[in-house]
Structures are given as C-alpha cells and as structure tokens.
C-alpha cells in the first residue's frame, strides 16, 4: 500500500507549563486507508509520547475521539486522510475548556445530561416482576433515531449558541430528553418540561442547524429540538386552557 506524507499541526497545551495553547508540527507517513486517529496514534507511538488525547474503539461507537479537523468538528476515527489536504490542523473540540493538549473538559455537558433526566420515569406502578413494558414497533420508530447518540459532544462544538452562552442546555442533552419524552413507556414529560421550556432550554436554539450537519450518527439534534418547541408550545396552551392532555 502506498504511503503519503501528512503534515499534522497539532494544538498543544500543558497546564503546568503553558500560558496558552500553541501548535506543534509532525510529519507522519500515512497509509492511504488511514483515518486521522491512525495518524495521531502514529505520533504518540513513534514521535512524541507526551501527546494527550482521548480515544477508545476506533469504530464510531465510543464517541471519545472527537476533535477539530481543519476547523470542522468530527470523529477522528471516521475522517479519512484521503479526503484531506496534505496539511491538517488538529485542535481540541471548540466550545470546551482544554484540559491538556487535545483533551477537553466535558463536566458541563455531563451535568446537563443528568439535568434532563434521561431515563424512564413512571407515575404508575411498574409492571409486575414477571411482566415487561409493552412497546410496538411503531412506538419504537418514534424515537429510535434519537437513541443513536454516542455522546461524542461534536454537536456542542458546532453550536454557536452554546459557544456564546454556556447556560444553554444544548443539542445532545435536549435530544436525549426528547428521546425519553417520545418513549411510550415514559411518563416524565411534564417533569422535564420545566427544564426544557425554561430560558436555557429549547428556546435558546435559533436553528443554526450545524449540530445536525456534523453529527456522525445522523441523530439530527436540530430536528429534535424544533419538535420539542412544538411540543412545549402545545403543552403551554393545554395547561393555560386547563386541558391535561399529557399522557404522563
């Protein structure tokens, strides 16, 4: 297999030494079927063992290798070098604080995921121990696409609203809330409404749509958020008119 020289320009930041991040260049002999993650692994294994970055599965499942590749947030395990120019700039995901080199601090988004209660909430008694919740294929189809999220946080990196306002709950967490709101087994929609319909919930989204364009799993968070705006507005008027149409 042919090799190609790739010029990697990687952002470095050592919190104990550096006041601000800086760029370091590496020349990497890449095989033509490599992805960017392979090239970064080559740097770590052969050129510079001090480079810090996250990765695990190398197959778009774990969601930990997201980085800015030439300014575009993407999973490095799905970005082939054959689709890129000879010089590639790698930076940690935008809109997140840099912990070290290519590792970012995700605490804020993890906390937001907890905040939206992304689990089945029941008001009725759960089914007896030997029974399970019944769900038809049609009811599953209502939210199946939303379950594909791998929490890679690339959507947050693409979202200018989150970049400008860190209080915004943001694409992945809102999508996760919508996934449970749509689940026929769940009865927690009204519990989540307080968070989602608040100032920092769905209405902070101005439908830039970047989150959906960069999502590696085609979850389409922008669509989920717009659907929540419709749901939230309907729920508001139902409550105003004293109709309790909510199934929960």
């Amino acid at each position: 297999m042919r090799t190609r020289q790739l010029e990697l320009e990687i952002m470095r930041y050592d919190p104990e030494k550096d006041k601000a991040p800086w760029f370091q260049n590496y020349t990497v002999p890449c095989l033509e079927d490599w992805v960017i993650l392979d090239a970064i692994n080559y740097v770590k294994d052969n050129l510079d063992t001090t480079l810090a970055y996250r990765w695990s599965c190398h197959m778009m499942v774990c969601g930990s290798c997201g980085m800015m590749i030439n300014g575009e947030p993407s999973l490095t395990c799905k970005t082939f070098i054959r689709d890129l120019p000879d010089k590639v700039r790698i930076e940690p995901l935008e809109n997140f604080p840099i912990e070290r080199d290519l590792v970012v601090v995700l605490d804020d988004v993890i906390q937001k995921l907890y905040q939206v209660q992304p689990y089945i909430i029941r008001k009725d008694d759960p089914p007896a121990e030997d029974k399970e919740y019944i769900q038809t294929p049609a009811a599953l189809a209502k939210f199946k696409q939303l379950t594909m999220c791998i929490n890679c946080m690339i959507c947050y990196s693409a979202c200018p609203q989150y970049g400008l306002n860190k209080k915004f709950i943001g694409p992945a967490a809102l999508t996760m809330a919508h996934r449970y709101n749509r689940d026929s087994r769940d009865q927690g929609k009204s519990d989540r409404l307080n968070i989602l319909a608040d100032h920092d919930g769905v209405w902070d989204c101005s439908f830039v749509g970047a989150c959906s364009e960069v999502c590696p799993k085609h979850v389409d968070p922008a669509a989920a958020i717009q659907q929540m705006k419709v749901d939230g507005a309907l729920e508001f008027w139902k409550q105003k008119m004293g109709i309790t149409g909510d199934k929960s």
Binding site: P15, E72, E99, A138, A141, L164, S206, F207, G209
Partner: protein, 131 residues
C-alpha cells in the same frame, strides 16, 4: 498535578466568520431588518389611510416609483432564498409525520408547503383583485 483548563475566547461580534455555515445562518437572521422595515411601512400605510384620501394616494404613489419597485423585488428574492426555500426544506424536521412504522417521505411535506403557499397566494391575489 494542578488543573488549569484553558478557555479559548469566542468573539461575540465576529464568531460567525468562523465558517460558511454560520455565515449563511447570519444572512438568514439579517432578514429581520427587512421584517422591521415592512412592519414600519405597514404602519405608515395605515396612518396614511386613516388620515385622508390624498395622503393614502401619495403613499401608494411613493411605493410605485422605480426605485421602490426594484427594492421590493430584491427584498422578495432575499426572503425567498433565505427564508422560504430553507424553511420549507426544514419543515419535515420540525413536523415529521409517521404512518405506522414508517416516516412519511420529506418530499410530501415539502411539496405540501409549496401547494399551501400557492393556494394562499392565489387567494390573496383574488382578494385584492389582481386576478
């Protein structure tokens, strides 16, 4: 080892220059200035209508000057390309229709919007006596 996360600054005034996607978004949002202009124009028109027939006719004449017709034409194009076309394209995202286990194809919802648009336009043209 001490943690000192570095926060990259984001300019509140020039952030949209970062990529083409953001630029298109900002161009879409800038149509709000035209919405403001047409809101004021409607108020001026109504005020002229309430004032006197002469004022109303003067208002109508002012809107029929070549410069204003060109302006209205350009504004219409701007709205078409940055509001109508993109929003109709995005409509199936906000209002997906599921029939059984399958989602109704996006094209049905998009075409439905164009048909509704045509029907409403024809009704308005009929109402004002153009057709």
């Amino acid at each position: 080892m001490s943690r000192q996360p570095y926060i990259r600054p984001m300019s509140t005034t020039t952030w949209y220059m970062r990529n083409g996607r953001y630029k298109v978004y900002v161009l879409r949002e800038l149509t709000s200035f035209l919405v403001m202009f047409y809101s004021f124009l409607t108020i001026f028109g109504l005020a002229a209508l309430a004032a006197s027939p002469e004022r109303w006719n003067a208002f109508l004449a002012s809107q029929q000057s070549t410069a204003m017709i060109i302006f209205h034409g350009l504004a219409l194009l701007y709205f078409l390309f940055f509001q109508t076309f993109p929003w109709f394209k995005l409509a199936p995202k906000a209002m997906p229709v599921q029939v059984g286990e399958k989602k109704l194809p996006d094209s049905y919802i998009i075409i439905g919007h164009y048909v509704a648009w045509a029907v409403v336009s024809i009704f308005i043209f009929w109402l004002v006596g153009v057709i």
